[in-house]
């Protein structure tokens, strides 16, 4: 009964979304207040209804309603309540419903917080957000019904995919969805601006925060995914350029480019076409990513079930591609830049180069992801493009990008004088030289020397900016260093938070370089009590232990880690295998890990014989990998600083718009 209501609710939301779209576009066009108000109400109502439907499915999962096909396929009695809760996004119909819920809630928050602002833009923004919701509601109502029944009442469910029974794997998709879905908001604003012909900086100002928030979630989601791969999949790495990973990375690339290029539009009034194109691409890549992972057209380790949602996605992709292009081409004359770029030694030129690099990386990644598939269609032969291609092409591009990340903030708008060059670049270049020398002495190898020197350069520019900012405040306001720093964040969080984000990226870069160039590994079979030496460590195998859990058996190998020089016992690690009752053919692994800031000792249990008398391991030393996770946290903190609404924010925005008015930027 209650599940029939769930289906009915989705149908109602669909109808309401259609009404809201019509009201938004028509009301915006006619400036009809009542219609515009209807578009707001439709957004609120859809959010409430879809949340209600989601709650019903959650109720079904938590109460073991196995007569629902979704619950039967993705849950079981022995699952803990937490995993039953998270089974909502463990399968297709549920995750689409979850996605739709996040989107509708985002939309409602956007509509509510802008209810008295951007009166010309908002009706179209509401309508466009509802278009996104409508698409997902169409899927839920017509293609993949989350409330479908099975014809009988099964005694127990078939269990959740074992790979998803892991804490990080629970959080990771949520973060990705929050990031993915949130990109619909800036896109809606861009469409609103194009339709209403309000193509000044109004939408760009508003959209910055609404892009940063999803960007932060997307970044966190990607990092968590890497961490999950690192800790669970057990091949010593964290990123495999797998199509599904690329699907999440592509919108991140274009979204990051967008975040940077809107700064130039704000400051210099150029790149207007580029900006709308970037955010459209971001949204397109989000839908494309969902399409490729949901329709089964790409082979991937992320084995999602295939289904018949493919054609729907394809139609929607065509609609957003060509609908937007038609709109864009029509509005091109209104998108002329107000200036041109004066000098290559200017900040806007560096930002432009940054954008080209992001676009280049995105294109290479897109190419590598889709080329095998297209080559198979056209020639019948599958030419696979593996990790080496991506590393070879994207590695150098990323290094250049890092370099620009350090250099761009040091350049002035419009033009940089030679004196300014000297003042800005001396310390960072010295720091880079020092690190290069240091790496050359300890681990001479060309790429890491260049890479780590560039990382040092960027880190030094950030330190320099902070030191100067703090020193200036100390002199003018007499604040102590700590207070001065906090004030830098609260007065100019955008800039100084941005630097923190950059610092996080540098840490991630350091980790990537360490893992890529200095990893050591060893394959061994050890008898109980036997030892293996790797790097500066000695590992002793102490046998196996097994534990019975509610829905699985855990097998642990016990390994002691000793320091090779001092002979001191540092840690005990236990790589693990889990055999799930409902999916014995899908054992999951958990690596044994001893982390420290210099390197990780990383052990994977491959198999064992005679109850653990001997066991086979792959052992790795992964240098500097810890910094990837630290960098991820720093990145999120930096984004929070950059996004946080400050009490002074309104005032500074007023001041800035005044500056525009008098033409002094």
């Amino acid at each position: 009964m209650i599940y029939d209501i769930g289906h009915l609710i989705l149908l109602t939301s669909l109808v309401l979304a259609v009404c809201g779209i019509l009201a938004g576009f028509w009301g915006g066009h006619r400036r009809n207040t009542r219609l515009i108000q209807s578009s707001y109400n439709a957004v609120y109502a859809v959010a409430a209804l879809v949340t209600g439907a989601t709650a019903i499915l959650w109720y079904g999962l938590l109460t073991d309603a196995f007569h629902l096909s979704y619950v039967w396929n993705h849950s079981e009695r022995a699952l803990s309540a937490f995993y039953k809760f998270s089974a909502l996004w463990g399968g297709q119909a549920g995750s689409l419903l979850f996605w739709c819920m996040i989107l509708s809630v985002y939309s409602a928050v956007v509509a509510f917080s802008n209810r008295n602002r951007h009166l010309v833009l908002m009706p179209y923004v509401n309508a466009m957000l509802l278009v996104s919701s409508l698409f997902f509601l169409t899927l839920l109502v017509f293609a993949t019904d989350p409330f479908k029944r099975v014809g009988f009442l099964p005694p127990d469910g078939q269990g959740l995919n074992p790979l998803l029974q892991n804490f990080w794997m629970i959080i990771h998709p949520v973060m990705l969805y929050l990031g993915y879905v949130g990109m619909a908001v800036p896109f809606a604003f861009a469409v609103g601006a194009l339709v209403s012909k309000r193509l000044d900086n109004e939408w760009v100002h508003t959209v910055r925060r609404w892009t940063l928030i999803p960007w932060m979630f997307l970044s966190a989601g990607i990092i968590m995914g890497s961490q999950w791969a690192y800790m669970e999949l057990g091949w010593g790495g964290y990123w495999a350029w797998d199509p599904v990973e690329n699907a999440s990375f592509l919108p991140w690339l274009t979204g990051t480019a967008f975040l940077h290029s809107i700064i130039i539009q704000e400051q210099r009034g150029i790149l207007k076409v580029w900006n709308v194109v970037l955010i459209w691409l971001t949204y397109f890549l989000v839908i494309l990513g969902t399409f490729t992972t949901r329709s089964g057209i790409i082979e991937s380790v992320h084995s999602f079930a295939r289904s018949d949602v493919g054609p729907y996605f394809l139609v929607y992709l065509v609609l957003i591609l060509f609908g937007f292009l038609w709109l864009l081409f029509d509005r091109l004359p209104l998108l002329r830049g107000e200036h041109t770029i004066d000098s290559y030694a200017s900040r806007e030129a560096a930002f432009l180069a940054n954008n080209w690099l992001f676009a280049g990386i995105a294109f290479a990644t897109l190419w590598g992801t889709f080329f095998p598939m297209f080559s198979e269609i056209l020639t019948g032969e599958r030419i696979s493009v593996a990790a080496p291609f991506f590393n070879k092409v994207n590695g150098p591009l990323f290094l250049l990008l890092l370099l620009l990340m350090g250099a761009a903030p040091l350049l002035g708008w419009r033009h940089t004088s030679l004196a300014a060059f000297r003042k800005q670049f001396t310390f960072p270049l010295v720091a880079a030289g020092g690190v290069a020398l240091l790496v050359f002495v300890f681990a001479p190898s060309l790429y890491p020397i260049i890479g780590l020197a560039i990382c040092a350069f960027v880190a030094a520019t950030i330190v320099q900016e902070y030191v100067r900012g703090v020193a200036a405040r100390r002199i003018t306001n007499g604040e102590n260093a700590l207070l001065a720093m906090v004030n830098l964040w609260s007065r100019n969080g955008r800039r100084y938070g941005g630097y923190i984000v950059h610092l996080g990226i540098v840490m991630i870069g350091v980790a990537v370089i360490g893992n890529e160039f200095y990893q050591e590994s060893l394959n061994v079979t050890l008898a109980r009590g036997e030892r293996a030496t790797l790097g500066r460590y000695e590992l002793v195998y102490n046998g196996m232990a097994s534990t019975r859990q509610a829905n699985r058996i855990e097998f642990d190998a016990l390994i002691d880690v000793y320091n090779l020089e001092s002979g001191r016992r540092i840690s005990e690690i236990s790589p693990q295998r889990n055999i799930y009752d409902k999916a014995p053919d899908m054992p999951t692994s958990e690596v044994g890990l001893y982390m420290n800031p210099v390197e990780d000792v990383y052990a994977v249990l491959n198999g064992w014989e005679e109850g653990g008398a001997t066991a086979t391991f792959t052992l790795y030393i992964n240098p500097l990998t810890l910094w990837m996770w630290v960098g991820g946290i720093v990145l999120v903190l930096g984004t929070l600083i950059a996004t946080w609404p400050h009490p002074t924010h309104r005032r500074s925005e007023a001041v800035r718009s005044l500056a525009y008015a008098v033409g002094d930027d």
């Binding site: 399409f291 329709s295 089964g296 057209i297 082979e299 295939r306 018949d308 493919g310 054609p311 394809l314 992709l317 065509v318 591609l321 060509f322 292009l325 081409f329 091109l332 002329r336 830049g337 107000e338 200036h339 041109t340 004066d342 889709f370 598939m373 297209f374 269609i377 014995p584 053919d585 198999g607 033409g663």
Partner: protein, 193 residues
């Protein structure tokens, strides 16, 4: 505002220049649209292809080559003219054990009737696989599915999975999970030459 403004933007040199500019913009737009159309077209083609391969229980059986544990090389093509029962299994797979003896007994019964049984060992270790074969005294050709090549082509969802291929090399039916004697008898009637 003391900005240098590019001359061609402020005032086009002539109407001709403006027209030329307009033409080049149109050309770029068309190229852009064509590229995107191509991309979407390929996606659509792929989608159709994928949906076709979804109908795994019909159409021509994908070719494969295997080397048995005994060292003999067998291709599917070489079995034309015979009915083929292709069984994917693994030594770690509990439900496979339910059907192992049944498959072997049926093979012994049917081998004179132009039917071949083939076992492909999915994601396994050779000693364990050989022990499994010895345990059930399996005599029909069995070999490892190297790099899961066949498993991927046949798009198996797990093990056991059994494909029934007729003498013309077309898949007649597939069974997910262990087969029963009744199923085997019924499906063998479809593929027996």
């Amino acid at each position: 505002m003391a900005e240098r403004i590019a001359p061609d933007r402020a005032q086009p040199a002539s109407a001709e220049a403006a027209q030329a500019r307009q033409r080049s913009v149109r050309a770029w737009q068309s190229i852009f649209v064509l590229i995107l159309l191509g991309f979407v077209g390929l996606l659509a083609a792929r989608l159709i292809q994928t949906n076709q391969s979804e109908h795994r229980a019909s159409g021509e059986a994908p070719p494969f080559t295997m080397t048995t544990f005994a060292g003999e090389t067998i291709t599917l093509a070489s079995l034309r003219g015979k009915g083929v029962v292709l069984n994917f299994w693994a030594s770690w797979c509990a439900p496979c054990r339910d059907e192992a003896a049944l498959l072997e007994a049926t093979w012994r019964r049917e081998r004179e009737n132009g039917v071949v049984f083939i076992g492909l060992d999915y994601l396994d270790q050779e000693p364990a696989a050989k022990a499994y074969l010895a345990e059930f005294d399996v005599t029909y050709p069995n070999g490892p599915d190297l790099q899961s090549a066949a498993a991927r082509r046949y798009g198996i969802k797990g093990v056991p999975e059994t494909f029934f291929i007729d003498a013309e090399g077309n898949i007649q039916e597939l069974v997910i999970g262990p087969v029963s004697q009744a199923q085997l008898d019924e499906l063998l009637d479809k593929i027996r030459p």
